[in-house]
Symmetry: C2
Subunit: 201 residues, 2 copies
């Protein structure tokens, strides 16, 4: 299902988390299913039972909540070799409450949790790899908690620019605003302030 190049990239990425024997690698590749999304399509939506997650092969996805008033709140952007899917809801066995939308055309390598879980029942390597994957997610969320607790909106924006500069070109500003927890208008003002004092762009 994957090209040799893609398989190589995925192997390198997962191998960086935990050692993977050839046998385990075969199992992983056999469990995944390739999937294409056109720009604007959804990988997952609230209401569906949360049973699948994916590794992004190419393209860019956006995870977001939608509240009763219709306001979108962006949880995450996910690019190549990153995890996508309503992972917290999968763990809890609950219906998803997050939208996952392709911001660009995207290729995914999709897994059914139940299948991966079953395979992991007899594979220490898979358990460990799983664990590391969740650890990465956990650290990311804790970093985000840190930023919401300690930083002002302006500092969160600077931090975003510093740590995810590739995304600045490809994502509309109102989605970045939502990601850092403010409105598009407020972000525009913050950018305006910075522009006055040198710091172009």
């Amino acid at each position: 299902m994957l090209t040799a190049l893609e398989e190589r990239a995925l192997h390198d990425r997962l191998g960086a988390l935990a050692p993977i024997s050839p046998k385990t690698w075969k199992a992983i590749v056999a469990l995944g299913l390739r999937m294409s999304l056109a720009k604007g399509e959804y990988f997952s939506q609230p209401g569906e039972k949360a049973t699948r997650f994916a590794v992004v092969i190419s393209g860019l996805l956006r995870h977001y909540y939608l509240d009763a008033a219709g306001k979108e709140s962006v949880k995450a952007f996910r690019g190549p070799m990153e995890l996508s899917g309503p992972y917290a809801e999968i763990i809890q066995g609950r219906p998803s409450r997050t939208f996952i939308e392709a911001l660009t055309a995207a290729e995914l390598f999709v897994f059914e949790v139940a299948e991966v879980d079953t395979a992991a029942e007899s594979s220490l390597e898979l358990q460990r790899l799983f664990r590391r994957f969740v650890e990465v997610q956990f650290v990311a969320k804790e970093q985000r908690e840190y930023e919401f607790l300690l930083l002002t909106a302006e500092e969160r924006y600077r931090q975003f620019c510093a740590s995810l500069p590739e995304l600045l070109q490809h994502i509309p500003q109102h989605q970045i605003a939502s990601y850092i927890g403010i409105t598009p208008v407020a972000l525009s003002r913050i950018r305006g302030r910075g522009r006055g004092r040198g710091k172009g762009q």
Copy 2:
């Protein structure tokens, strides 16, 4: 090191996450070290290398950051049978940046990550248990992200009261305020608003 009662409680708690064979259980108990903290003592502080985590046997702990201006920001409160420790920093192999303080006298069951990790190298059960433990942490952080993104300060406070009512009696309000990301003054105002319209306490 643990009383029979404590061991029983710990076994029940961990067993709810993933099945544990008697052999694995022996290993876990052998790896842990009991530790007592007096009220006000610290289990972990920034600067120390982050190598230990613990399960709380009894008592109440507080995890918090301290910024350059001296402001404390509370990350979490942890009670009996919950995980404590600078877990994100342990995963990253970085020095801790969080304070972990005993709000009451507390008993902990402490593990050295390196030792547990080594033991898990040959135990699928331990890997799986580990993974589940991290998953629980991850879900909690994602819930917190949700609350910061979608809820107002007042709604976060109501949510806190609803989901952790036991803590209301034991924790000073300025620490609760910090936990939900506002100042003590603001929390007092919020409580004042509620008091006017019935809702005692």
